[in-house]
Symmetry: C2
């Protein structure tokens, strides 16, 4: 089934303790497609770029199954640019530049053929725009997922609360879950957030794994203990892309299958951090993904038979 992706397509400049790149493609929409394409070749991408964007990169996205007709190209303007420098522990980073450029007046318009997509993932953009995308759909997708960030909680909480009422799944990190819910305990935070709308909630804990909440059920997916993290940029979007791509491909929205999606998403994120930008995701094979999932299986596998 088709997966509609709305998010940024951008250039990043990244410095980590292991090296730096001055210009590599980034953006939430870009990472989501780079990850989801390993599971589905029916992606539709809505975004905005300047005329400086690399046409080969667009061709690449098309070649792996992305319909890019929803990408607006602004002549004479520059693509969104983000620059950041990671600290030695890679858990903290300083943003050096956020040049919105074409993103400043982004107005997502869905091509007619995108309006019946069965799966929708809204990358981290202005919640008012996320709402606007949902409102353009002809039929309600089977699953609407969204990402957001602290920034929108600070400056656009009403719009954020409004879009939360329209989605099925929110994907945030620990810090964001705590700010949105005003609760420190993630169990309590999950309860508060799900009362705002989304039936499903994924809380990403970075190197500590991810939690999936639904009803009174909780699933915990570990993160792989990695020898080296090279560049964490895009890991969250890569997780979301793997998760949604897996669901769109398997067409099964049971909690059991969502757990599998979380594992595949986690596996994809563990690859993403191995090289700069989406580089590792480009060269990745299906066999490598299956092997990595096997590592996840072994990592948490134990066998206790309880007496009744």
């Amino acid at each position: 089934m088709s997966l509609l992706v709305v998010g940024t397509v951008a250039f990043d400049a990244i410095e980590t303790p292991f090296g730096k790149v001055d210009r590599i493609t980034g953006g939430s929409g870009n990472y989501i497609c780079h990850s989801a394409r390993h599971f589905t070749n029916k992606m539709q991408l809505v975004s905005v770029i300047g005329d400086d964007f690399d046409t080969n990169e667009l061709k690449y996205l098309q070649s792996v199954g992305t319909d890019t007709d929803g990408i607006q190209v602004k002549e004479g303007e520059k693509s969104f640019f983000w620059s950041g420098k990671y600290h030695l522990d890679l858990n903290r980073r300083d943003t050096l530049a956020t040049d919105l450029n074409v993103l400043a007046d982004f107005d997502p318009v869905l091509p007619e053929k995108f309006k019946s997509s069965e799966f929708l993932i809204l990358g981290n953009i202005d919640p008012a725009l996320q709402s606007k995308v949902i409102d353009q759909m002809k039929e309600r997708p089977k699953l609407i997922a969204m990402d957001t960030m602290n920034f929108w909680m600070d400056i656009a909480l009403d719009a954020l609360e409004a879009v939360l009422q329209k989605v099925d799944l929110l994907i945030v990190n620990e810090e964001e879950a705590r700010q949105l819910s005003k609760e420190y305990s993630l169990v309590k935070a999950a309860e508060v957030i799900r009362k705002k709308g989304p039936k499903y909630l994924i809380i990403k804990k970075g190197e500590h794994g991810a939690l999936l909440f639904h009803g009174n059920k909780v699933f915990f997916a570990p993160a792989l203990p990695l020898e080296d993290v090279f560049d964490p940029t895009g890991a969250g979007d890569t997780f979301a892309g793997g998760f949604m791509g897996y669901l769109a491909n398997t067409k099964d929205l049971s909690f059991e299958n969502m757990k599998r999606g979380v594992i595949y998403g986690s596996a994809m994120a563990s690859f993403c951090v191995e090289k700069f930008g989406p580089q590792r995701l480009k060269e990745l094979t299906r066999q490598e993904i299956e092997d990595r999932v096997q590592v996840f299986i072994s990592l948490v596998d134990f066998d206790i038979i309880l007496k009744d």
Copy 2:
């Protein structure tokens, strides 16, 4: 099989955002026995107390299967006293007082009947004393486990390195593993630490679970996402006590069984934090433990069948 426990038996004063107690029993040896007794009734405790210690508490330890003949009682002296105040997030605490008292010149002497114990757990004390305990054993135990802390890495690194060569298993937290190995990545840290002696390593990640390393195998045990943590004091020792108690009871040192031990230890720690001090461990039933382990099983359970 018998489990020899060496560690402190003390009084704690604890303040958390949820309340305070001025005087409750604590100490690593105390918590380990309170936890391990749910799995074995063949414990031997080596420690030191003043004549101010609560005799009812000693009687309680005896009643649940602890041979307390290795506890030295110093007449006219005071028991070890620790006082701490936890921050709102409960991950950080300020130590308000550390009165060593009887602990200042603790010289662990093993009663003859303790010297053939099959399992030995060395709580966090001076590494020179940990060595001294091992050297008193008549036969080498089947498993020697030890805890330690940053403090000993700072002031007694040589003694710590010496005892590490004599043990099978080191149990430390993330921060301690990083300081001891001088590596940030826990995978690399585990490699460095195991070259120092211990074949097995457990890295506790608090609310994020625990990792067990052996050979080229890694096991990840989640922590339970808890609604409320009331008092984290003693959670690490409770984990160690549950782990060692489970192994001493099952007498099986395979990696598969150690993984089960980590899950039981994690379950015990999740109970410990529900009330002040070892209170919750006192009232705990076997059925509650099995039910909690079932929650751990469900938490990480997923089902992916990979194609060959």
